[in-house]
Each structure stands twice: as structure tokens, then as C-alpha cells.
Symmetry: C2
Subunit: 445 residues, 2 copies
Amino acid sequence: MRNAARPGAQALPLNHVIGDMAKIMSHRIAMDHPRFFGFIPSPVDENSFLGSMLTTMYNVGAGSWYQSSGASTVEDSLIKWFAEQAGLPPSSGGIFVSGGSVANLTAVVTARDAKLQFEQRPKAVIYISEQTHSSMAKGIVVAGFHRNQIRRVQCDSSYRIKPSSLRQQIESDRKNGLIPFMIAATCGLTNTGGIDDLNALADIAESENLWLHVDGAYGASILLSKTHKHCADGIVRADSLTWDAHKWLFQVYDCGLVLVRDKRNLIESFATGASYIRDADEASSEKVNFWNRGIEMSRPARGMKLWFTLQRLGLDKVSDMIDHGVDLAEFAELVFRGFENWEILSPAQLAILNFRYVPPISKPPSEGTDFDQFCDKINAEISRLAVERNIAAPLTTRITKVLNLRMCTVSPQLSRDQLLEVIKSLDSIAKEVSASFVKKRILKI
Amino acid sequence: MRNAARPGAQALPLNHVIGDMAKIMSHRIAMDHPRFFGFIPSPVDENSFLGSMLTTMYNVGAGSWYQSSGASTVEDSLIKWFAEQAGLPPSSGGIFVSGGSVANLTAVVTARDAKLQFEQRPKAVIYISEQTHSSMAKGIVVAGFHRNQIRRVQCDSSYRIKPSSLRQQIESDRKNGLIPFMIAATCGLTNTGGIDDLNALADIAESENLWLHVDGAYGASILLSKTHKHCADGIVRADSLTWDAHKWLFQVYDCGLVLVRDKRNLIESFATGASYIRDADEASSEKVNFWNRGIEMSRPARGMKLWFTLQRLGLDKVSDMIDHGVDLAEFAELVFRGFENWEILSPAQLAILNFRYVPPISKPPSEGTDFDQFCDKINAEISRLAVERNIAAPLTTRITKVLNLRMCTVSPQLSRDQLLEVIKSLDSIAKEVSASFVKKRILKI
């Protein structure tokens, strides 16, 4: 495949190249498969394919009003609508970006410039937790901070930032002459689907004059669920918010969004012109130049496929599609709790469930390994076999010291019945693996 | 349009939404029109549309090998091939990004981490010129530097960084206890198509131990021209290189590339894992995880449409398509030089020409305005009318103190004959505008 990738002097026939493309692209994980439960899956609605195709065919350069007044108007209007869903005020604004990583980076740069004098930066500190997505730390380092300026605050038993620990840490940092300036909370932890206590963190941010960023790359979409919107209570108090549509809004890659409470902060950080007058114009004008609100100059109109999808589906349907994901994870939890030898490590939250199989033996049969390590091996093998046999892909992660299986059930195409079949199969595999492991160990003695 | 952008509760019919999309997208500049000469146009080859559409339909998450071994292999292989075209060694590597802005930012972060201790950053300085693309300064500031750490080195009469001035500036900065660490040169200035003297700058970079970045977002594509490849002599000495395929390689947005001489530098800056052992594995492995080489975690396989296009066209054709652009600008220069009252402000370079109309009068007819200001108004009006009458879009810029018209002639669909017709029309408009301006001024007296 490596050699075939290199272009030759002569043209190749269309069917040849399309055939090669098919072969190349077959080597992948189907992130959009209903039974792919790993990472955050990407179950794409067919309208996004069509919207994306049309956007591509028009191929507007959506960096400036002059190039793209139509798409820029619609993207800006859609951004305002998203901001309203989060409860942000009319001063808010944002930009469609390639995804959560760039959104988080954009937020860090904006917070940095809004909260710190340049000279203060070396003493600045940012608060995240062990559960915060790795793109947050990457964005902080890209924006010029040192890794040791990142504080990983202790979590509670639900893997959420512990407000009391955060307060203590801030106090201790201030005592040491450091300058706390930003809290990065999460709405929809990748590991567990959990949501930091946004109101508690907002209280702290308010009293300590810190920037509150909420990484809702995955979970902010819950705001479009009529039933579960309340889960994100407190998100209204964010100074900036990351929200990916290629996660739980059924879009093809790439379609991310960063919102800020006051769009002037974006313009102050990213407008390239030196003229303050023009920048002020920029904030008040309806004629948005997106290249003054983010990192990119040339940019595709990434929001248009999302606009197309929302128009085509209607919000009632979108709400149902999101609710379906929440329901599936809760259903899975119920089923596992009814089965023997399965342990729930983190209950269903925002369509994510963590669980593991614990074999029905009182202690491990072989020496030199403790019980949890033994279980780790069994659960890793369950995941491997489920993938190998094409049953489903629940991948593994660690939220505590033990390894667990994890399901993110956001596909609108998966039914409860199908999910029940998957869980039954996992249970069979678990019994098989467990028996085989116990036997192997015993035979070894 | 703003209200129509907001999603409603109910689904809208397909034809309705497609119709709205058409209306929205009609408000734009056709960056791909053969007679759009402004900015850097985006003349898209039809194979890129198809390649992009297929990439979208497969919708791989090309961040990691596990998600996307096929596309990752091909992208990595294509990156190596591009690095070879620039003469970079086998140690080189890179990543497809959304465009020049992110590529330049990626290069700044990589250079920063490769050349500076963290403590040295406040004293670090970077050298660019007045002609350097604005995304460079933006990337520097995003990466945590202050605007006053940017040195805008004086240019020669061809608007290229003056090596002697650069040497003096470096010497002076060192004397002041500052730490020079990076030169950002350009291959294909947006304004003039000019190329900095890469060998002279590389000599300085070498002797001063600085990182040499080359922003070839526009001009690096000349490396694929058999005839004009030599224009980019010295690019082989770059430590990092930006190269956009949605500019002069006929791709839809977005398709940019950043290359570095030693891919380990990318991994050291962007790999999220803490384990050095794993990072070392990452550099030697054929199993590339692109999320360890750039800012993004989730990323679409942006390089696949370019791969598709190159396979379909073949390199001989691509070379001809690039040469055609160079030829058109040289032809335009010849024609303008043959016409009366037109002045060439910067000769044809890499398919870009700068020129202006100078009315045949010895001095301005009205008081309170000098001759150049008078010419500025005339040339601005020529551009405006050419766009209004749908003849062509040569936009204006300033490379000296006077305003000039600028043509970037990269469209393979434009013939010499058609271009001649455009120039004749511009000449007619110029005469008309000039006569009207002279008359208005005279009547005022």
C-alpha cells in the first residue's frame, strides 16, 4: 500500500483509483458502526453526508465576509443559536473549528489573553483533572505554558473534580505567589460520560475571578435533548465552551465548535489587524470575518453540513436521537446488573457505561498475581474476542486501578433488542474466557 | 437568511433544504473561477471533488493507526513523497492539516520546543518580514510569544528579506541579551509571488543555529513543476515547511501540509503520552498515529483527496497545470508592457503579477491630492468596475506605498486568449475611469 500511495507520471483510470481508494479505506475501524462502542463513536446521519458533499461542491472559503457572505451569515446565526441553547448571553459568539482539540486550544488562548498580563504568564496555573481529555493539556502546552503549570485536581468517587480540593489547591497556589486563571471543566467525560459539578466550579471561578472553560466536546449535545437537558445545569455560566458535532450530533469529520461568553475576547486574541477601530467594528458588525475569530485564515464552511442536518431532521427528532443513546446505556446497565458476575464500575451517564466481568471464584488460582490483575486479563480478552468475532467493540479503559470495559451507545441505529443480543454474547464470551483462564492457571500448577 | 438559519422543531423536505443551501451558497466569491485573480484563488480539479466526496463517505477518523491504518499509511507515504520533492532527508515527516495557518502554528511550536529551554522563551526572537503572511505572526502569538518578540526584517527592492539586514538584526538582538531562534522565510509571497533568498537565509540559520521555517503555503507547489522547480532552490535546507494543496494543487478546502526535517521534533512537541519509550517507538514505527504529530486528536483524512487527484492526473499533467499558471502571469506582464500607461510594480513571479494604471497626464488636475493618491483612486475603481461588470476580479493590494492591482493566474482553465481579452477590457475600463476622474476633478475647479 505504501508504494501504491506514491503518484506516478501518468494518469490512472478512474475505476482503478476508486478501487484503490476502496481497498485503502477498508483498513479502518467503522467508527459509525452501531456496535462500535469504543472511543466516542461517530454515528453519522445520512443528511450530514449530503450536506458535506454540497458544502464541498460549493467550496467556499469561509474565512471572510467578502469571500463568503452567505455561508458566513448562516454559520454565525447557527453559532448564536447554539450559544442560546447553552444559555449564553447575546454578547457571545464563536467559530466552527475542526474539532475539540482546536476548540480547547482556542479557549486556552482566549482565556490567557483575557485574564493575564503577558508578564504574569510564567506564574499562571490552570486547573484540570485526571479525567480531563488529553487535548486540554496539549492545548495548554501549545499555547505556551509549561506542563507544570497544569494542576490535576483530585476527583470524587464519581470521577468529577472535587470542589473542595480545587479550592484548597487554588489557595495553596496563591500562597505560593502563583496566579490561578482558568478552570477547565468537562461536560461529558470521555471515560465515564460524567459531568463536572459545573455550578460548584462556576461558584469558585466567580469568587476567584477565574475563566471557566467547559469542554463539552462530547456531552454538550445533551443540551438538545428535551428530556435530559438539565444534566448540563450550570453550563450557562461558562466563559467558553467546546462542542463537537462530529461526536453526538451525527456529523462527518470535521465539525467542532467553540463558543465564548463575549465574542470580543475571540477578536482580541485572533484578529490579525493592528487597528483597534477595525476590531471594534468587527465585533459589532453583522458582517463576520471568521478569520478574526480563530486560528485559521482559509477555512471551509464546516458548519453548513450541520445546518443542513438540523434543517432536515428537525429538533424534535434530534432530541429523540440523543435520548435514544442515553436510554441504551441505561438499558445496558440494567441488563448487566441482572446478570451474574458483572460489576458496574461507573453507572450509565450520557450514554456511557463502565463495567467488568468478575469470575465466580473466591481467589485467583495461581500464585504471583493478584485478583484484579487476573480480572484485567480476562476483561481485555473479552474485548479482544468480541472484536475478533465481529460481535461488537466495547474497548477497555481504566477509571480506577482496574481495567474495565466501556460502552458508548450513541448510535440511533442500534435497538434495545440488538444491544441485548450483544450483551448476551459478551456474557458467553466472558464465561468462556474465564473458564479457559482458570483452567490454564490450574493446569500450570 | 439569519432567521432561516435557525433550526425548527420539524423536519423540512429535502428539496427545500437543498434549495436553501443553493441560495445561501450563491452569496460568495467563486474562488475557483478562472477569472478570479484575487487572494490566492482556489481552482479546483474535478478529481478533488470526487476524492473529497469519497473520503467523506468513508469518514475515517484518521487520528490513530487503530482507527485508520489504511488512510494513515497512504497519508504517511504521501507525506514522505512530498518531503522528497522538497529534498528533505528520510528522517523527515509531517502531517496533513487544515491549511497554512495551522501548519505555520505547528512549525512555530515545534521550533520553539526544539530550540529553546522553557526559561529562554521570554527572551526569544523570531525573524519575519513585512511581506510575510499574517498567519505567521498569529501562529507566533498563539504559541505564547509577545508581538514584540517578532522582528520584521527589512526587504530588498524585490520585497524579499534582505540577508544583510537580517544579520545585523540578529547581531543587535544578541548584543541586547536576546535569543534569536527562528527565521520564517517565504516561498511564494502572497503579494508578489516572490521567494525569499532561501540559500542566503539558510546560511544565516546554519551559522547562527536558528530554525529555518519556509512558508510555502502557496509557492511550494512549484516543486512539482519540471520546468520551474529550480525557483525554490534552497528549500531543501528548511527545518520545516508549510505547503497548501488547496492553493496551487487544485484541492477543495481544506488540505494543508506541514513537513519537518526530523519527525521526532513533531512527536516531542505533540505526542500526548508521557512515556518517552512509547514516543520513541512512535518515531520508528510504520504504524503512524497522527494525533501524536499535531494539534488535532480526531481528524479527517485530508490527504486522501490529494492522493486521489495525483493518481488520477499523473505528475506530468500536474507539472503542466502549474507551468500554465506561471506562463499566464508572464504573458500578462508582456501584454501590459506593450500597452500604454500601465506600470509593472512587481514582475510575474510564480503566477502573480502586480501592476497599475497611470493616467497620461503630467500632474493631477485638482488641488490637495498628490499624484499617487489620485492613481490609487483610479486603480481601486478599475478593480471595482471589473468585478461589478463580471469581467474579472483583479483585487488591489499595496506592496509599495501606492495601491496596485494584482493578478494570481493559477487557473488551468484560463487560456492566453481569454486572459488577453480580460486585459483589453481592463485597459478600456482604465481609460474610462481615468477620463471620468480627470473630468470630475476639472469640473470641480
